[in-house]
């Protein structure tokens, strides 16, 4: 198998493992809301939460990279450029993440000096990793970009999908530089930080997953390249057309001028439109090709991607995006419910689809079936929906009691957190979180075991009946 594909499998395995760390640290964070003394004194809430959100970014990023390394040799029909460097950096990347995670857990914080930012943590959400590790991540991403662009140069040709992906690499990598500076002024800090976060997850990541899903759909359903490319361009136009100025929906309350209320609210309200188009596309594909896929789990995860993206990003986002409403709901568990649903739908489902695609080829399975993947699918999606529903209830209670009625002070905050609906939401979230965890374990087992039983059966054919 191609070196790039071997590397892809390593990245996908690492992604699934860090997905596990994300799940575990999520359970820990959720536990604090129910039992405030949970691991207090050992691992405070902030550390559990930091692990949770950072491993989310890491596992998805590794999933994307695995997907790209997997499809690269097929797209260019040559061994991709610079894979030797990428292979080394894979181990650098994984080791760095492990060292950083250990630092978070064992060292936790440092004195208020630049040294702490270099060695311990930088304390900016999602990009807490100390600067030494951030340099490593930047290097990994640079080589990743080189693997894509360099292969196009070596092959002296490029497909539409790879052209989009290559161009997208530029902002993807450049935006990460925002993880480095220490900016005293919180308003300016948040202004640039949102370029990184929003223009990653609501722009460049959408383009990247769009490219990956285009490649996946070509493989799963045999859809023609021209159709998939045309669709990709439509998607890029609509996602960037709404998302670039949709960035303004993060600029309502950070000290920026109030024209952002109008601009951000308007473009953000349009963001569900391309997502609806993706739903239609998914239904079409399901109908046209349904009988002709040999990889049902991959296909179902692709459907989950389209619907999850729409529900989590579109529906849940639209509830709180208008500034008149966001003023009340901003920075509550309502945000959390939207965030979990959107990340799951838009990115996690897509990565899992690619895992099954790669698995089919790697284990040479004519057909991918069985019951394991169904259980994983149901438990994960059911658990996730239960969690976001619980968080929605908690978030609405918080918005109602802390913000709308309470006056947003500490006393109001406490009243909101102790409100029975909020507390119910926290217990319910934990319950569904456990279901989600069961789904994760089932998924991991399924990915590990799938195909081996069939392979064994081939080796020892069943006796004729």
């Amino acid at each position: 198998m191609s070196r790039s594909k071997n590397l892809a499998v390593k990245y996908l395995v690492a992604a699934i493992l860090f997905f596990g760390v994300m799940t575990l640290s999520g359970l820990m964070s959720a536990a604090y809301y129910i039992q405030p003394d949970f691991l207090f004194g050992l691992i405070p809430f902030s550390i559990a939460k930091m692990l949770h959100i950072d491993t989310m970014i890491i596992w998805l990023l590794m999933g994307f990279m695995g997907a790209v390394y997997w499809f690269l040799p097929d797209e260019f029909e040559i061994e991709p450029a610079g894979i030797w460097a990428a292979e080394i950096l894979f181990w650098v990347f994984v080791s760095a993440v492990l060292v950083v995670a250990a630092t978070f857990v064992l060292v936790q914080w440092g004195a208020g000096t630049e040294t702490t930012l270099w060695l311990v943590q930088q304390g900016r959400k999602y990009v807490e990793a100390p600067r030494w590790a951030a340099i490593g991540v930047a290097l990994v991403m640079l080589v990743f970009a080189w693997n894509v662009v360099g292969t196009a140069l070596r092959a002296r040709r490029i497909t539409g999908i790879m052209a989009v992906m290559s161009v997208n690499m530029v902002p993807l990598v450049l935006l990460y530089l925002i993880a480095f500076p220490k900016i005293d002024n919180m308003a300016v800090d948040l202004y640039w930080w949102w370029w990184l976060v929003h223009l990653w997850v609501e722009a460049t990541w959408e383009i990247l997953i769009g490219c990956i899903m285009a490649l996946a759909v070509m493989k799963l359903l045999g859809t023609s390249r021209k159709i998939v490319e045309g669709w990709l361009y439509v998607e890029v136009s609509m996602v960037l057309g709404t998302g670039i100025l949709g960035l303004g929906h993060h600029y309502f309350w950070i000290g920026t001028p109030d024209y952002w209320l109008g601009i951000g609210g308007f473009f953000s309200a349009l963001e569900p439109l391309p997502l609806l188009g993706m739903v239609v596309h998914a239904v079409y594909d399901a109908g046209v090709h349904r009988m002709k896929t040999t990889n049902r789990p991959a296909f179902y995860w692709t459907l989950a991607e389209a619907f999850g993206n729409f529900l989590g990003g579109g529906v849940f986002g639209f509830m709180i995006t208008l500034p008149q409403l966001n003023l009340f709901a901003h920075g509550t568990q309502w945000t959390v419910s939207h965030g979990h649903f959107a990340f799951w739908g838009a990115y996690a489902c897509g990565v899992l689809s690619v895992c099954y695609i790669a698995l089919q080829e790697q284990r040479r399975l004519a057909v991918v079936n069985g019951r394991g993947w169904v259980w994983a699918f149901v438990l994960l999606n059911g658990g996730l929906i239960g969690m976001v529903g619980s968080l929605l209830v908690a978030g609405m209670a918080q918005t109602f009691f802390e913000r709308a009625i309470g006056g947003s002070t500490l006393e109001a905050f406490i009243a909101g957190q102790e409100n029975p609906w909020f507390v119910l939401g926290m217990y319910s979230r934990m319950f569904f979180g456990l279901i989600f965890t069961a789904g994760y374990l089932t998924l991991a087992w399924n990915l590990l075991a799938l195909g081996h039983r069939e392979a064994a059966a081939v080796a020892q054919p069943a006796p004729a009946e």
Partner: protein, 99 residues
């Protein structure tokens, strides 16, 4: 905006997009199976969207420009499924791809 109105408005906005999704889903499956029943259901889903949008436009404490945005969105949601469907059908036919 009272606290109660705040929650009702937010839920109504979310419901509008949800109804659009239901309309798109039912429209797609209905077109596929050539099922009048499903297409009528799609119509009902869009009808729910219209009622919801009308409620927002008539009663929500939002300024005029936001109500216009809601009205515009409602129209856009109407058009997206059939236009997307036509585009997909046409490109697949062009390619002589799977029937």
């Amino acid at each position: 905006m009272t606290p109660g109105v705040l929650l009702v408005t937010s839920v109504s906005l979310g419901f509008m997009v949800l109804a659009a999704g239901a309309y798109a889903l039912l429209y797609g499956i209905g077109r596929f199976r050539n099922s009048r029943g499903l297409l009528v259901s799609a119509g009902f889903a869009y009808g729910a969207l219209v009622l919801d949008a009308a409620g927002l436009i008539l009663a929500a404490p939002l300024a005029l420009e936001w109500k216009l945005l809601i009205a515009g969105s409602a129209l856009a949601y109407l058009g997206i499924p059939p236009l997307t469907w036509r585009y997909l059908q046409h490109t697949h036919r062009e390619e002589g791809a799977h029937p």
